[in-house]
């Protein structure tokens, strides 16, 4: 009874420094390891689907395990262990970003082009059960492979209690209510992809951290099975979904999908606190949609970006993620883009507000979108012309507006914002004279 088990989903959120795992995760006896953020890439065209499950697991390797419902028994060739850097590249390319502009000398009236400051990078960013017993429990081991550092079994089951007992007896630590979470998948004739770390193989890889598992399959369902991961969750979990499709933006077809507030000017000090700023902005947007919506953080054709937080992924990296439909000819795609849209969705889910698994659909929307927050640095040099006083007045108005925007985005109180702005905060606008008469 030493192996931990983790439900679906894995890894990070750009805005959530507390890296953790999610899912059906069970640590050592009594030690609570909560995995609250994960990242997953879904590449899909028609019914062909490749899922890359990122993995931030940081505990003892022999404690790791993963259970993912899959539509069919996968052959060895359908399973692959990918590179961690692919998800890191996707994160860097699509993360919410801060851009800056600098005011020119108002006496010379001139503007400088926008420059990306860079994206907010992710900081967080068994012993086998006897065959007879297996049959009695209604569990069938359909296949077993060792792929990279993982030992993988594919199971089918007749009944959830049997599967729960089988997993428990095979050394997986199951959370309470596991059978209830497993039952709907069994009823839908789904199979279970169960992976744990093969320590010997893991040592051979020389990697300190586990690499992402990738699976390729055909299925009419465009979905992510998040319910399994909720069985032992304590509070909401975060997941970043990178959906890569041919024609356009991806949205959920059973939960509301909205865009993050974007393209707004915020005070300069946000640069120092961008992580906090984005977390607060995300949390407010999430609460504002009843904690039931998916937030879109990025939609762009992978052929280009503007501004680029990181270069787009090249064809080799895209192939590594499972993109199979691109033309390999050099120079096949130019600035006009390629038949590939990346959608970055940020989901904060819990059992109460997300009673069903996430279903998705590809739309025909190719309108680019990015989580983009703008800093405008005022001109701080000597101002010695008549236009200068007009500029200072405009600056006061702008700074008040930026403070109001920041308060509305993050819910931060005025005192915090004014303190952060320091001498840039011009004070409240002067009250009309009559307001002071009849107090």
């Amino acid at each position: 009874m030493r192996t931990a088990i983790c439900g679906f989903v894995l890894a990070l959120s750009a805005a959530h420094p507390a890296a953790a795992f999610c899912g059906f995760f069970v640590g050592k006896a009594d030690s609570q390891l909560f995995n609250k953020s994960s990242q997953v890439a879904i590449v899909r065209d028609g019914e062909h689907t490749v899922i890359t499950m990122g993995n931030d697991f940081s505990g003892e390797m022999n404690e790791f395990a993963l259970v993912v419902p899959v539509p069919s028994v996968l052959s060895r060739d359908q399973i692959h262990v990918g590179e961690r850097r692919l998800l890191e590249r996707l994160d860097a390319y699509s993360a919410p970003r801060l851009v800056e502009y600098s005011d020119g000398d108002p006496c010379a009236v001139r503007r400088y082009p926008a420059m990306a400051l860079g994206a907010m990078r992710s900081h967080v960013a068994a012993s086998p059960v006897a065959e007879r017993a297996t049959k009695a429990l209604g569990v069938t081991v359909e296949a077993a492979y060792t792929v990279g550092e993982y030992d993988i079994v594919l199971l089918s089951a007749n009944q959830s209690e049997g599967l729960e007992i089988w997993l428990r007896e095979s050394g997986y630590r199951m959370p309470p209510r596991a059978a209830a979470a497993l039952a709907p998948y069994i009823r839908q004739q789904m199979k279970f992809f169960v992976a744990k770390v093969n320590l010997k193989e893991q040592r051979k890889t020389g990697f300190q951290q586990l690499r992402p598992i990738q699976i390729a399959f055909d299925s009419p369902r465009f979905m992510l099975p998040i319910r399994l991961g909720m069985a032992n969750a304590d509070g909401p979990q975060d997941m970043i979904v990178y959906a890569v499709t041919r024609n356009g933006r991806v949205e959920s077809s059973n939960y509301q999908t909205v865009k993050m507030p974007s393209d707004v000017e915020v005070p300069e000090f946000v640069q120092r606190e961008f992580g906090d700023f984005y977390q607060a902005t995300f949390a407010k947007a999430w609460r504002g949609h009843g904690r039931r919506a998916l937030l879109t953080e990025y939609v762009w054709n992978m052929g280009f970006c503007d501004p680029c937080a990181a270069p787009p992924l090249d064809q080799e990296e895209l192939r590594g993620l499972g993109v199979f439909w691109l033309n390999d000819q050099p120079g096949a795609y130019h600035m006009g883009g390629m038949p590939l849209t990346l959608t970055r969705l940020h989901v904060r889910y819990d059992s109460e507000h997300f009673p069903e698994d996430l279903m998705f659909q590809q739309t025909g929307d190719q309108q680019p979108f990015q989580g983009r927050y703008i800093l405008r640095h005022p001109y701080r040099g000597e101002i010695s012309c008549a236009a200068g006083s007009e500029y200072r007045k405009e600056l006061d108005v702008r700074h008040r507006q930026e403070a109001a925007t920041l308060a509305s985005l993050t819910g931060w109180d005025a005192a915090r914002i004014h303190a952060g702005m320091g001498s840039d905060w011009p004070g409240e606008p002067q009250q009309p004279w009559w307001k002071t008469i009849w107090r």
Partner: protein, 269 residues
Amino acid sequence: MRLPKDARWLQIAFLASFLILGLLARDFPLWHAPLVFAACLATQIACERILRRKPAGLLSPLITSLGLTLLLRAGAWWVPVLAGVLAIGSKFTLRVRGRHFFNPANFGLCCLMLITPRAWCSPTQWGEGAMVLLWILVLGCAVAHRAFRSDVSLAFLGSWTALRAARVLYLGQRVPVLMHQLASGSLLLFTFFMISDPKTTPRAPAARLLFAAIVASVAFALQLRFVQNPIVWALFFCAPLVPVLDALTSNEKKETLPCALQSVVSSSP
């Protein structure tokens, strides 16, 4: 306060309030609605002139325009235009015994989704705000009642709910799953403003109930096969059953039609 005699005014007011909500509080693009309206109204007028039909007024194409605007999402300017033209065009061309049988907005929506990936339908765009749903339900019932077609709406909603509930029970899921599946603004829009259309449902009361149940069953079967927007497709595929059911029940006396319905039917293009 007296309500207007023609129930379609209520429908228009209701759908328009939805459109305003979409434009102000959801991500509806501003360019979409004018194109749909222009295409629907122009097609209506053009078809009446070409086919020398007596002008039937613009309320009906206005309702089609609103329905299309609320359900169809487009990634190119020509998508809403073509949808409007096909929707209204179907009323004048696809007719059996003097009656069109495709719901025009449903026809336009489905044709465009078949033709191009740049057209889609976002069933969850309204969110799950309980108050909004209640609002729709209450007002929707009133409108459906005015048109004397609450039987179709309620029969569809009842069948769909029963099938979804059976599925949830079968899978061993919890009640909140069912509530989540039913808490969809698009489902209620479909129920009270699309399948309830008196001109594209069978005339006989029993046939109407049967039709609603068939649409719900087909939608359920499509959902089991993971087809997106199953209820919209189900109505599209089942629409040709309307003239068949009408033919089978043609011995029903026309006088049994309620007065309000007669006024609606008589204004067909």
